[in-house]
């Protein structure tokens, strides 16, 4: 009689151990499924993020290209303006020198010097006007191209 009872007790113990193992196994499975779901959600979120990023990047790239195209389209004018601005300042300096010479000639009572300085200034006018007009055209082209770029 003692042998079957001991066997029954062992079976209860084995049953308890198997129950614990089964519960642990199921918990492990549930935990793994939860992690898997998290990973899938994460992947879906990252893919959505990537799609948004691609759209934004494409938009930024388009805007950048538009601005670059605008700047490139007026590159010759920009190069000309770089030199033209300096030329204009030089011509204005010559104009100042001529006016100063005229006034100094007058103050010195030398009509010849005054007239020579006035003639010199007058001679500068066509070059000054041409330079200024050219510069204005180039600047207008640049301003038109660059305006509205944000």
């Amino acid at each position: 009689m003692a042998e079957p009872r001991a066997r029954l007790r062992r079976r209860w113990l084995a049953f308890t151990g198997a129950l614990v193992l089964a519960l642990l196994g199921m918990a492990f499975l549930v935990w793994s499924i939860a992690q898997h779901q998290d990973a899938r959600d994460d992947l879906a979120a990252e893919q959505a993020h990537l799609a948004t990023r691609r759209a934004n990047t494409s938009n930024e790239a388009r805007q950048l290209q538009r601005v670059l195209d605008a700047v490139t389209s007026v590159r010759p004018q920009l190069t000309a303006l770089d030199k033209g601005a300096n030329d204009l300042a030089d011509l204005d300096q010559h104009d100042l020198d001529a006016v100063r010479a005229a006034i100094q000639g007058g103050l010195a009572g030398k009509l010849g010097d005054y007239n020579a300085a006035v003639d010199q200034r007058t001679a500068l006018d066509p070059q000054h006007d041409t330079t200024l007009e050219l510069l204005r055209q180039q600047a207008n082209a640049v301003i038109t191209a660059l305006s509205g770029l944000g």
Binding site: F15, G25, E60, L64, V67
Partner: protein, 167 residues
Amino acid sequence: MTTPVDDRRARRARREGRQGTALFITTVILLVVALGSAGAALIVRRDTDDVHAHTEPVRREIRDLSAAEEHARRRLRLLRAGSRATTESLAALFAAEQAQVDASNHAVDVANQAVDRYNNAQTDLATAFQGAGDAALADLEAKTAAVRSAAEAARRAIANLQGVANG
């Protein structure tokens, strides 16, 4: 002939035997469930690793795109600022030039008036010019210097814009 006690013992033994069998079968089922669950969990975890492996390249691409986007945004910002600075500096140059032309014409007008007084024999040339051109000349000098400054500012703005455009 069995006694009632023997009969009860026999029934109990049979009941315990059935209980033991049921426990054994349930234990086996639970072990199968435990092993099955563990196996399924391992398969799920391997699949999870695959999902993680797919996620990482997506994250890397997002990082690369973010860096490219930031670079593009920064360059765009610089280009727009450069464009604005260029436009404003050119406008300032022409405003300074207009002021210089006006100041020059005014100085010449002042000189012409002095010569007119001399021509009308109201005074000699030097006296006619006394105090006539100082203020106008000082103004012209200032305006000419302003044109030079504006031209330098425009050149700097243009160089900066071209530098940013060239990358």
